[in-house]
């Protein structure tokens, strides 16, 4: 088949599966499950094939044969392909994982249909070049996400779904209003047509504000992030993975596409992203430090890692943008891995509360290793992928904004602190509760294994991924935006830190044979020699001493994260006014 038809197939096939699966369910359970997994494998293959054949010529596909600007255009360049690879690769792994995770639960058919619609929305968003079509795909994505968040129909899931729905609908209304204003002013909906006609005026400042607030709210940028820590933990684990790992990034992709190539307001966009990125990074990690529900903790980390992506994109140098996109890929990988291992933990023990768990390292060695790899990646410890992208962001920001570099470094320390707590309280620390650990099925282990190999592999040998990213950056900014590579300092840093880790490991191995001789109980890990009275330090008060001096800061944070919907809507109003004032002042005063 001609390569030009691949992008539309990538959108159509999951849509087909969403409506075919309920019919197949009438035939046989096995057929339904196999169809579900294999269709996502097929879509992943199509994305890889598109990527392999696209080179420098973007695919422009006219739906129904109507030429733009009247018809809908599907546009696929290297940047879209980069996103497609992430989305469909992870969607396939999530589909595989859900086979084991859902177990014998009923309502599988609904899950499959909604899952497919979620993927339709994400693929559509990254492929479309029509602004109203973008809105339609965004709504397909959002509605299926609302439904999947409430999938378990528990009290928390329903509450989270309602609050997410209200905030998401306000954001959608803002986006639709911006689209109406664009159509009213320029009489077109095609991205390229808008780009050729766009000019700054009083109306267009309003348009930009509504569009920015709408998209920022959908991608959970502070202070419009309140729905995320409610919604993501309530969903089933494979869905949390897709929501946190990819969904919030498709809207970041849209922001880049719209504000950088369609409206070309680079300086305003860059300043907004830098400020909001720093805020996201700080507040996300600060809130994560005090969580004791594992999935909620991971959701707050999503906010702080989104901050890194925004900082990288906001620097607007070739190195910075590449770092941002690289971190986007890396965050998709390690956050997916973290949510999958949280899901495996829930599947196996039935609990996700850090205060109740402990000592699982001996019972679940596979899960422990996988989680530690993911925790190292998210904290940016070499030789994992998180280190590479964070290094690029540090280097890129240091020349112009040293304060941003310092914030980014501090947030990394906070991330590591928070994950030390997770690993301590789940896998190594002691607990007095008896924990029953169910074995994890192979269909859950394989996706986790693949992602953790990718995390380490990209960290050790990032060159191929960097080539993909540099083509994506060229698609965004043109050929003059040449990306020069990591430079020699990166190799030195990677080598030094890897040597340090290997040395520590060798020392550990060389002394471990002696440790076995000592039978005394008090030398066990995390006992600190206290012997017969093992002290149970639960996750929530591990950092009491560190957090106590910051109590007034935490009081403000807790007052805002009150669970009150009206506070959340109020923040949308405040940030709209602030962004409007900023854009107005920049362009018109």
């Amino acid at each position: 088949m001609n390569i030009i038809h691949y992008p539309i197939l990538i959108i159509i096939l999951p849509l087909l599966s969403a409506f075919l699966i309920p019919i197949l369910a009438l035939v046989s359970k096995k057929v339904k499950n196999w169809f579900f997994v294999s269709i996502f494998l097929l879509i992943f293959y199509l994305s890889v094939a598109t990527f392999a054949n696209i080179s420098q010529n973007p695919i422009s596909y006219h739906l129904g044969g109507w030429a733009p600007p009247f018809g809908i255009e599907i546009y696929c360049d290297s940047l879209s392909c980069f996103m497609l690879l992430i989305i469909n690769g992870l969607a396939f792994l999530a589909a595989l994982y859900s086979q084991g995770y859902l177990g014998e639960k009923r309502r599988r058919t609904q899950f499959y249909a909604l899952f497919s619609l979620l993927v339709v929305g994400m693929n559509g968003i990254v492929l479309t070049a029509d602004i109203f079509n973008m809105y339609v795909f965004l709504e397909i994505l959002s509605i299926s996400a609302y439904a999947l968040v409430s999938f378990y129909r528990t009290r928390d899931a329903l509450e989270a779904s309602f609050k997410y729905m209200v905030q998401g609908s306000v954001a959608s209304a803002f986006i639709l209003l911006a689209i109406a204003l664009i159509y009213g002013e320029y009489g077109t909906l095609n991205f390229f047509d808008i780009a050729s006609k766009f000019a700054i005026s009083k109306t267009s400042t309003l348009t930009l504000t509504f569009l920015f607030i709408g998209l920022a709210s959908k991608s959970a940028i502070l202070p419009l992030h309140f729905w995320l820590p409610d919604a993501h933990p309530s969903a089933p684990a494979p869905i949390s993975m897709l929501l946190s790992g990819i969904m919030i990034k498709t809207t970041i992709y849209l922001m880049c596409r719209l504000f950088l190539t369609v409206f070309s307001i680079n300086i305003v966009f860059s300043n907004l992203l830098l400020i909001l990125g720093c805020l996201c990074a700080i507040v996300g990690v600060a809130m994560a430090l005090v969580q004791h529900n594992l999935k909620r903790l991971l959701a707050y980390h999503s906010i702080s890692q989104i901050g890194y992506i925004l900082i990288g994109l906001g620097i607007l140098t070739p190195m910075g943008v590449s770092g941002g996109l690289f971190h986007l890929l890396n965050h998709a990988l390690f956050k997916s891995l973290l949510f999958l291992s949280a899901g495996a933990l829930i599947y196996s023990t039935g609990s996700q509360d850090l205060d109740n768990l402990g000592g699982l390292a001996k019972k679940m060695p596979y899960l422990t290793v996988v989680t530690i790899i993911a925790a190292f990646s998210i904290s940016g410890i070499p030789p994992t992928n998180g280190f590479v992208s964070k290094w690029m962001i540090y280097v890129a920001s240091y020349k112009e904004y040293p304060i941003v570099t310092i914030i980014a470094l501090l947030v990394s320390v906070g991330t590591l602190l928070s994950f030390a707590k997770v690993i301590h309280s789940i896998f190594f620390g002691r607990t007095n509760n008896a924990i029953l650990a169910r074995p994890i099925p192979l269909s859950m282990k394989i996706p986790m294994g693949i992602i953790s190999i990718l995390c380490i592999g990209i960290g050790i040998y990032p060159a191929p991924v960097q080539r993909i990213i540099s083509t994506a950056v060229i698609a965004l900014f043109g050929k003059s935006f040449v990306y020069t590579g990591l430079g020699s300092t990166f190799a030195t840093a990677l080598a030094l830190s890897s040597i340090a880790i290997i040395v520590v490991f060798v020392i550990y191995l060389s002394t471990s044979y002696r440790r076995k001789e000592i039978k005394d109980h008090k030398h066990d890990t995390y006992l600190c020699g206290s012997g017969n009275t093992p002290e149970n330090v639960p996750g929530s008060n591990l950092y009491f001493g560190v957090l106590e001096p910051l109590s007034s800061f935490y009081q403000i944070l807790k007052r805002e994260h009150s669970g009150n919907l009206q506070t959340y809507i109020f923040w949308i109003v405040i940030s709209s006014v602030a962004v409007l004032a900023y854009i107005w002042r920049f362009f018109l005063v």
Partner: protein, 111 residues
């Protein structure tokens, strides 16, 4: 200013006010609907031509109403309908669990 645009802006404000201040979940959903409807009204009035005829090119290429906003509005009505249906279903389920429609009383998730 065009009276249609003014009305649309007014309805949008009323809807947003309802979402931001009302505690009853049904009223919040009504507010969301008002916001959507006002934008649809705005889109329709964008394409309106005074004394224009139906957009069939073979009849009269000039002086016709812009057909595109009507197509957009149809799509957006369908989307609005599905969001509303879903939201009402969630409210029913929430009422079964909490026996209240007051969103400020439903605050299990915080911090």
């Amino acid at each position: 200013m065009n009276p249609d645009y003014f009305c649309a802006a007014l309805v949008f404000m009323i809807g947003f006010y309802a979402v931001a201040t009302k505690k009853n979940m049904i009223k919040i959903i009504i507010g969301l609907n008002l916001m959507e409807i006002s934008i649809q009204y705005f889109l329709i009035s964008l394409g309106y031509v005074k004394g224009g005829i139906e957009p069939i090119v073979s009849k009269a290429p000039k002086n016709m109403v812009d057909p595109l906003p009507q197509a957009l509005v149809l799509t957006s009505i369908v989307i609005g309908l599905s969001v509303t249906a879903f939201a009402l279903a969630i409210v029913v389920k929430l009422y079964e669990k909490y026996h209240t429609l007051d969103i400020t009383k439903i605050r299990g998730l915080k911090e």
